[in-house]
Symmetry: C2
Subunit: 198 residues, 2 copies
């Protein structure tokens, strides 16, 4: 009976989040999730490719927003500046999803399998950023490195922003990127005797 459509998907996500918080991710079976959502286990796997994915939704929209941000940045900006621009433009999306993403933070935090998935999602974002930089004329190698490094700074800024929302995301971003510059500026100065003992 196809009257449900998109509704069943939302019920499944809701049921999954509830059960994960009640008894943990590993102790919850996909059959239980389906039962609470009022559908069959088979239906679960028609809406989500696997058990983990039920928690992650709308990530491709975020990825597109990041890529668009890099593309929309003024052409004169250096790679890292373009990334900073894109991260700033993505703030509203972060803010809008904040209450939505917060409950699953605790679930992800104590489930290694989900953390692994988060890393994969992040890797996808990094790839998209690198590709967007390449489209601006940045060479492949530096683009990939810049995307990785920029994402690390963004993660730090987003974390700090979650912990202290009194400062706006842009300021957190600027602080993180400044920290980054301070860290990297020191290298290659004294050039210590890089002997490999042992």
């Amino acid at each position: 009976m196809p009257r449900d459509g998109e509704d069943a998907r939302r019920r499944l996500q809701q049921a999954a989040l509830e059960l994960f918080r009640e008894r943990g991710y590993d102790a919850t079976t996909t059959a239980e999730i389906a039962a609470r959502a009022g559908v069959t286990e088979r239906t679960f796997f028609r809406h989500f490719p696997d058990k983990r994915e039920v928690l992650f939704d709308g990530e491709e929209r975020f990825r597109a927003a990041l890529a668009d941000g890099v593309a929309a940045a003024p052409g004169a900006l250096e790679p890292m500046e373009a990334l900073l621009w894109a991260f700033g433009a993505v703030g509203p999306i972060l803010e809008a999803n904040r209450l939505f993403t917060e409950p699953r933070q605790t679930v992800v935090a104590d489930t290694p399998a989900l953390q692994e998935r988060v890393r994969t999602k992040t890797a996808g974002l990094i790839d998209a950023l690198a590709e967007a930089l390449r489209r601006r004329g940045v060479e492949g190698g530096p683009a990939a490195l810049a995307a990785q490094v920029g994402m690390a700074a963004f993660g730090r800024a987003a974390g700090a922003w979650f912990a202290d929302p009194s400062m706006c995301l842009e300021d957190h971003l600027r602080a993180a990127f400044e920290e980054l510059r301070n860290l990297t500026s020191a290298v290659g100065r004294a050039d210590p005797k890089r002997r490999r003992e042992r």
Copy 2:
């Protein structure tokens, strides 16, 4: 019959690598691996916690070497300099394992599940580096960021070194870290109007 001991483990790894290269990771079952190694499937899972882990061995040794390298770096070095030092000290290990790790590169390359595992392993290395930096007195936040960024540069250097072994690892490392400094030095100069339109 416990006469095998460590030997069965090696046979399992060898059999797994062969089968993965013959017909791919996903199309290979743990039962097949065990059969080719001359043991039971149950024995496979006594030696490895899961199917993926049969390909990754000696990673904890590498992690310890990295942490030791950071600890052994001269105390006057800045965080990123200490990381560069540690990466340089780890070169011989990379070189020794080169022929050993090369065959599985192709398997990992076209198996998403294995790439996910590699990312998890890398995250473990980053954590170890951050912890080692903290032990040098670096604060938690900057330590984590420096470890992430340093590992990104190390990955780039190692990749370049695999592609072009004529240059020594240290030179590749220096090039990657220099690239990093160039990338980050540009940010925060003009401070463009970071308006979030759209």
